[in-house]
Symmetry: C2
Subunit: 425 residues, 2 copies
């Protein structure tokens, strides 16, 4: 509580320009709000160059208020611009790091629960399009389940079918964004505008935040592109130079912290956004006319199971559907074959994907694979394991019998299976 | 059996130069052995350019023997060269694609069960070093378990301690090579020479096989380098230009079929081999003097568990040790916290790694991570999930109590934890 005490002593309020003296060094900037992610003795200020820094303070740190923040400016910004010549998008918040918007002036970190608040936080978005914003839920993405995917699918369809928006942006925690984007890809048919999931790897109070860049590029894709698919827009490389547009069924978080953590796997991305220009250089589904159909039924009794050497049979649970992450081209140990047989006899569907992440399943090369095929295991082609998991939930809720399940799993429904793996030589 | 019948009819034997006429096309080359991986109607010949091709034959394919293969040449090659000025290595076979050696002349695919057979299959190896070769087991690597790792560790130590070899090469199936290399890294102390695991992504009867290039480079590292660690040597890129030397605890198969599937994760590789020259450009442990110590005790009651949205608590099994593959910086859903608590109360050790594969665990950033830390979950730093799994087996068999388990899991023992993740910006 040192921070609070020292700030209170000099009556420093959020938005004030302050000077911090720490030893021989001084820092000047606008006082930003404290954030639950920062340490307790960190004061965050926005420097003149626009970057935020966190400064560790101690008892002998001196702080001085140079200029009080203006409250009037805030109020003016609360009237949202609306340009009838520009398209309108809906932003449906779900939580996650990106939901912690930072006010450019005061630096206030707050969830955008309304268009007003969004205007206040990332005003540049109004140079791109008109915005409706609301929050569906505020959760860490690791807590989202199939129920949330279903709610989102219906909310998105409503925005298009009822509110006739040009596109929808879904700010989302990055941890499970790939699962959600895959789920929405299967649930939403005949999209009349782009559905763009977007996240941030670094929260807005961090100097290196990617939140506003990603959101602006996502808004651009949602309002100005003719992509009739569910996509993810995230930083394309570690600097701020461009964002990448990923197909929702082919994208995976491949780094815990880098801003370019999201990558398209076993395919090329749909395109990119740089300097406000959308470049599309991959086949994609164009937007449709008419009405979006929501087909959100899912079988919940499905598991994603990672094989490891020495795995005992009982570690493969009883489920209606199991997506295995096997080794290499699609293998598990022979010691598990009787368990697979048992599950198959009980009517379970088993799909093979690879823990290699990259590359295609090919169960015809080695006898292990061929034996598993004989047991009725379905090869997952070049699908991401996470996408195969979501797809199996969807397929089990839609197919009438084993043959249809198999056929649907091997059919490319939403871009999840590529014709051939372009990374193969 | 069409193939066998047609070949028999013209008395075509392995090693013979034959001509195949198929429609308007003709192919000339040395008849190679049929391989269990190839289709039943495929005849494999080695073309003049050194590449193998598989040709699909039918009833109306005509085959002609142009020249019988020489049996004398084979016999000459059976006397193995031994150069007392060169170092001697041991090759201990375990199975896998690389174990299907191809004779350069006859194209015979066979496991190298002796130095004679090896001489016969990859004779260039004798320009590098002297070779003892034998087979420990012949298995698909997905069937290997901790028992096999323990046998291998003891066999390797014997080669060094008793037979005083300069290095050991372990041909291994690629599917679980990363698990084995990690296990040996923890089990073998005070290495007096390099231990080099090597595999092939394409079997020797395929034109694009990487088997002999990888084996030659592995033999070079084993006989001529001063690396006192367990390493993996595999193709560095899709062409044949160089091999990469990976640390055994940091390497992962990241593609189902590419020849450069193996990558060092969250660190730089130790070095590379190009044109017969070893370049080491990373810190590594030098070989020791004296005797290798084998410390192969492992706790088998450990599981590697992949989190997915909607995972029910009962899908985390009862084990002494569990390595979780969580999302992002190290998260799982709150709905699993009570299960984690229960496991902890029963004395289980739980280690968190990330399904992102790349990057470091940081459970201090979000409340989910902090809550899990409070429940006693151990952050897996930047360890590969597979390495963390193997390490936990080793640690649980060596630590006396919870504090020691925790300390060992957070201590860098065999290069498995990097000081910082170099891919982070």
């Amino acid at each position: 509580m040192l921070r609070e005490r020292i700030l209170k002593k000099v009556n420093a309020e959020l938005g004030d320009t302050i000077k911090i003296k720490k030893g021989r060094r001084t820092y000047e900037g606008i006082l930003m709000p404290h954030h639950e992610f920062s340490g307790d003795d960190i004061v965050i200020i926005k420097l003149k160059n626009g970057y935020n820094v966190g400064i560790e303070i101690s008892e002998d740190t001196s702080i001085e208020v140079l200029k009080k923040g203006s409250k009037e400016k805030r109020e003016i910004k609360r009237s949202i611009p609306h340009d009838p010549k520009e398209p309108t998008i809906s932003i449906i918040g779900t939580g996650g790091t990106i939901a912690s918007y930072v006010d450019y002036r005061t630096g206030a970190v707050h969830p955008a629960t309304s268009a007003e608040e969004l205007a206040f936080s990332v005003p540049d978005i109004f140079d791109i399009c008109n915005v409706n914003a609301r929050v569906a839920f505020q959760m860490f993405s690791e807590d989202l389940t199939v129920d949330h995917w279903q709610i989102l699918a219906k909310e998105i369809a409503k925005e298009f079918n009822k509110n006739r928006v040009a596109g929808v942006v879904i700010p989302h925690g990055t941890d499970t964004m790939g699962y959600t984007s895959a789920a929405l890809s299967f649930m939403l048919k005949n999209l009349t505008g782009p559905v763009v999931l977007v996240g941030a790897q670094r929260s807005s109070d961090r100097p290196s935040s990617d939140a506003s860049r990603n959101l602006l590029d996502a808004a651009l894709v949602a309002s100005k592109s003719d992509i009739g698919e569910v996509v993810v827009v995230m930083h394309g490389e570690i600097s701020d130079s461009f964002s990448t547009i990923h197909r929702g069924t082919k994208v995976r978080k491949l780094h815990t912290s880098r801003r370019d953590a999201f990558q398209t796997v076993n395919d090329a991305p749909l395109g990119k956004v740089s300097d406000g220009v959308i470049e599309l250089n991959h086949e994609y589904r164009r937007i449709s006319n008419g009405t979006i159909e929501v087909d959100e039924k899912m079988e919940k009794d499905v598991a994603l199971v990672y094989f490891y050497p020495g795995m005992p049979p009982e570690d493969i649970p009883d489920k209606k559907g199991i997506v295995l992450m096997g080794t290499g081209l699609g293998h598990i140990s022979k010691s598990l074959f009787s368990r697979i047989k048992e599950l198959r006899e009980n009517g379970s569907t088993i799909v093979m994907t690879s823990q290699c992440i990259f590359g295609r399943i090919n169960m015809n090369v080695y006898s292990t694979g061929r034996d598993l095929l004989k047991l009725g295991v379905i090869p997952g082609e070049d699908m991401l394991p996470e996408t195969a998991y979501v797809k199996l939930m969807w397929v089990l809720a839609h197919a009438k019998n084993q043959e249809e399940i198999r056929k649907l799993m091997l059919t490319n429904i939403a871009g999840e299976i590529s014709e051939r793996t372009i990374y193969n030589d």
